[in-house]
Symmetry: C2
Subunit: 296 residues, 2 copies
């Protein structure tokens, strides 16, 4: 199994209100993902609040992760930062701690040009000396990758994969064909946006970068394996069971909902970092009902 294929489960990063990571709670969550048999862990992704944590706390999280699950499951670490030198430092930190791969979104404040994103990602890939997945997530970075830019980046050493948002027109097969024609053999193309995962996997993408798998790894893995073995009806049935949760993800943002799921399941009591507010208490019932549909 290659690093950027199959089910990549993105964990939340439990932390106190001051941004101090609860490494014991994090280790428990990661241990569950490894035990379920997911193909990789996505640590410190958007779901893992990387943008809200200091370099020191991110390093603590990576070290705790490698101590807990290192060698049992590949760990891909998000190293995004607004400054190129800081993202490079985070990439070196992750490598030194034993991470298996890197994930990099072009975080921005001042909107970035294509050339700036190219140079930024190339510089981090060079500094990291690990396989790197381009994190294409316009909803948080507000940067839209063109095919030309992805093709250019795919030719840079260490850049091995892309994590795509769901295509606006829903045409996964067309997009995969287009991107594969522009990128080297072995360059892995995966998708995030959990509600599109069944379609993406059935269309033959390489990986599902899954938020829900961070807390429901077995259930997300069942969906992944059904789709990968072309068991379409089973994949559709499982996706259907997730629908109420996808509705909550779309309504409130998966970042907020994941903390509520962790709480409802009794896995940890962390809250998202302010200014992000927890899900309103009245919505907890909807979370419970959605989980009841999945955990049968």
């Amino acid at each position: 199994m290659k690093l950027f294929t199959g089910l990549s489960a993105f964990s939340i990063t439990p932390a106190d209100p001051s941004g101090h990571v609860d490494t014991a709670a994090l280790a428990r969550l990661l241990g569950r993902i490894a035990a379920a048999g997911a193909d990789s862990i996505g640590l410190l992704g958007s779901t893992g609040a990387y943008a809200f944590l200091s370099r020191h706390e991110r390093q603590r999280a990576v070290e705790a992760a490698m101590e807990c699950v290192g060698g049992r499951i590949p760990v891909i670490v998000g190293v995004g930062a607004l400054r190129t030198d800081e993202a490079q430092a985070l990439a070196r930190d992750a490598r030194k701690a034993g991470a298996n791969g890197l994930l990099l979104a072009p975080m921005s404040y001042t909107p970035l040009t294509e050339e700036e994103v190219f140079q930024h990602i190339s510089a981090v890939a060079q500094a990291g000396e690990l396989p790197l997945c381009i994190y294409n997530n316009p909803s948080t970075t507000r940067f839209t990758f063109t095919d030309d830019l992805l093709a250019r980046l795919a030719a840079v050493p260490n850049i091995a994969a892309v994590k795509m948002p769901l295509p606006a027109d829903g045409d996964f097969e067309g997009e995969l064909r287009r991107l594969r024609s522009r990128t080297p053999d072995g360059f892995a193309i995966g998708y995030s946006g959990d509600w599109g995962a069944a379609d993406a996997l059935l269309a033959g993408c390489d990986a599902w970068y899954s938020v829900v798998a961070g807390l429901l790894p077995s259930e997300a893995l069942a969906l992944t394996r059904a789709a990968n073995t072309r068991n379409t009806s089973e994949a559709r049935r499982l996706d259907e069971s997730f629908q109420p949760l996808w509705s909550l993800f779309k309504a409130f943002g998966s970042f907020r909902v994941m903390y509520a799921i962790a709480d409802v399941l009794g896995l940890c009591e962390a809250a998202p970092p302010r200014p992000i507010l927890p899900l309103p208490h009245r919505e907890r019932t909807r979370v419970k009902d959605a989980l009841d549909r999945i955990l049968v």
Copy 2:
């Protein structure tokens, strides 16, 4: 003169490639603004690269500024951060260093809800204990304030002003009338977006939050005073002289162009923080030509 009225000149923050602020160069730039007689300084705004600087470096910049121009001209300090607790800490830092006012944009990674922005800005205003200007800048924060949210925030203690982007329909008078009807007397409404400043000032806004004034304070002040004294033809003539520069601002982003202006004028040799790239060298001639139109 109230704090958030007239010409507020936003300085770049000269720093080395690692993000270490050149406080001597910063002091020179701020001294020029004070000497020109601008109404306030906007320190560590978007132009001042606040999003790219560490808390420690931001504190060094504020301390250098207050030492150089404190008491001669009010200094408004940008205290934006992705975390609420960090923005609160920056606000306390600025107050302790003697800043006169605060500027706060709802920086985001995970897109924020209205309630999150309300609570974030309110919490920072409370912690800062200084008059605070809401920094409404969708091009960098990707958050759009509704009139309802501005009205709600304008009622919060310490929140005294808003810095608005140019209205999409160009109707400054209509927007000012609408916002003034929803905000308390004395709540100051100003505009950023230098190429719309003449229109905004002639329509009777309270302040021009000016990028160009950070490096050309006398010239920006002449435009401000012409508009404030209803000398429409002179305001239009001065605005016309800025047009080639406004074109460069629109084409490359004022953040990138300002470093080139500082270089061309021999004021400092700093570059923007990576990943932001300096203006291509071939564009320097256009910058020189644009400056020749203004500095006659």
